[in-house]
Symmetry: C2
Subunit: 360 residues, 2 copies
């Protein structure tokens, strides 16, 4: 009698653990997607290939990386897994594999987005990880950020066999409110520790608006095809954080026609100009320091010219307001860490809020 | 005549640029070293092989990693290069190559340590990089942190041929004032963006004292050979941040004899006990959350037992004081980013200061 009881208990335990561990997968394309400028031919890329046609090759390539894109879903599963394939293996001296190729999971809890865990990255291109397990089985809304400096060729989200997984009924990101950020590696998210710590992602969670990451590492050089594209992206505000990449001469030549065009096409949409962060190694390398100074002088000139011409809804954020003054906000003098991105988010948010508040 | 003038100018310019680019190397062993518990048989490791004999194998291996060790030197060179060899290539999903295998350079300027730049890491084991160039040629004191999660088999620091490079005449780290930190991966520096952002390194710069990094990733489990070793390390204060690794049962069993022994051997040296940071994924994973809670309950019991026995110079730092409450301080729920380490440094410093102030 006692033996039968024990055997029954063991069998029940096995069955329960099987029920927990038996996983079904939902293709992420069936769920909700945020952080996209527009729909694209290949779903996990940032700019449609046809629309990217006139852009520089470097931008075309970087537009295939999934920075800023996230999947929203609702599930009551006690476990969340993911299988995702990377188009290629990436090595970056100044980024963690989890940031350039991993997944980053948040949950909407008591009116706020809270970090849950990550989909960590093993060497190779086929990734398959438990993100979190042993949760309670209440229905929760999750946001899963995609890799910052790599692409995703396919993504499936795994939950318990008997759990539900769906698009959220009340999405906690309002895709009708859109902040479009065009910029360099700093926008794309180098060197956040994980995808959710790039500053547009931080601000997406803080505001509940949809922040669109159009950061193109080393390649945000204000070519006209980019202005033309930006003018077609639905936006409540443009943030132009594209001063780190072009030379002072390029800024002098390109920034006025670029911004002028964007403003003429979309006169009602405010534009926030952000000076380049002061490269911290430029406080020692006199050539670097001089270049940064001249970059900011050139964008300042363009800003003042536009103001003089009567453009009202243009805002300006100076370098000394961006990342604090302890010189500890970067990994390499150039790229922000989570400490730097938190400061950057603190600096950008009030200016964007002001721009939105003053919008007619 | 004009032609000769031009030729002379060109020749002079070539010679000058040659003088700038022509580099001589100083072996780092001829300079000053900080962050070392004691001298060791192999100079870039943390614990002497003979002294490590009774320690667990994992600790022995990790003691060969150079976390917390830094080279101090003075030079008037306009350029600083480094050639360093790594014993092996490392892959860590949650650390940048620059952190686990790179170099991190600071300069003492106007009474403060200021970040200069890094020795970034290329794939492979033989590294050779310009760290900074185009500086002014004033005499400066530098500190170069070694890799956090790798070793160094040799290191040479390159300066201009005509520059000086020496041990600093007035070292800005006081090696007679020593804080010895024993702990887990959090102490060793996962997941700082670079070596200087591990919290013992941050506090070394803030205090000017020598902070000794005895962080052993995953392996700070309070075995008695570690207590015996710690008791022989010259210290003004011990910080025991070793609760993340042992199980609640191990803490219950080991923490009292470990701390009791250390205190009996060194009754005048204050001990700061640090609870484990609350694993942020443990706010979701109920098993993880429960374990963390029990770990901290067990160390608390030991602390209270020692206080009851009349041990006065023992201090206690609670988990909710360590890394803020926005849940954004980690890369993976477990390991701190620069944001987390900055908060951790803010939390640990006042307790250590209090301990030092109350020391008889």
């Amino acid at each position: 009698m006692y033996k039968i009881f024990i055997v029954t208990i063991v069998l029940l335990a096995v069955q329960l653990s099987y029920a927990q561990d038996s996983i079904k997968y939902a293709d992420a394309t069936t769920l909700m997607m945020v952080g996209k400028a527009k729909t694209t031919d290949s779903i996990y890329q940032r700019i449609d290939s046809v629309e990217a046609k006139e852009m520089p090759q470097a931008v075309k390539n970087l537009a295939k990386q999934s920075a800023g894109i996230a999947i929203l879903f609702e599930t009551n599963s006690r476990i969340i897994r993911a299988k995702w394939d990377l188009p290629k293996e990436v090595y970056l001296h100044n980024m963690t594999p989890d940031a350039h190729s991993g997944l980053d999971l948040y949950c909407f809890k008591a009116g706020k987005w809270q970090f849950v865990s990550i989909g960590r990255v093993a060497p190779g291109i086929n990734q398959n990880q438990i993100i979190v397990q042993n949760m309670d089985s209440s229905l929760k809304q999750f946001m899963l950020y995609l890799p910052l400096y790599n692409g995703v060729s396919q993504l499936q989200i795994g939950v318990q066999q008997n759990a539900t997984i769906n698009k959220p009924t009340k999405p906690a990101v309002n895709t009708a409110r859109r902040i479009v950020v065009y910029g360099s590696s700093v926008v794309q998210g180098a060197s956040a520790s994980r995808a959710g710590m790039a500053y547009p992602a931080i601000l997406q969670r803080r505001t509940g608006f949809d922040w669109i990451n159009l950061g193109f590492s080393g390649s945000a050089k204000m070519e006209m095809p980019l202005a033309k594209y930006l003018a077609t992206v639905p936006a409540d505000c443009y943030v132009l954080d594209c001063i780190p990449n072009p030379s002072p001469e390029e800024i002098s030549e390109r920034s006025y026609p670029f911004i002028k065009y964007l403003h003429e096409q979309q006169p009602a949409i405010p534009i926030v100009l952000v000076e380049t962060i002061f490269r911290q190694n430029g406080l020692w390398d006199q050539q670097v320091g001089n270049t940064v100074k001249r970059q900011n002088e050139e964008i300042r000139k363009t800003y003042e010219r536009l103001k003089k011409e009567g453009v009202k809804n243009i805002y300006y954020l100076e370098t000394d307001k961006l990342i604090g003054n302890d010189h500890e906000a970067t990994i390499d003098g150039i790229h922000l860490t989570d400490l730097g991105f938190t400061r950057m988010a603190d600096a950008v948010l009030p200016v964007v809020k002001k721009a939105l508040a003053e919008k007619k």
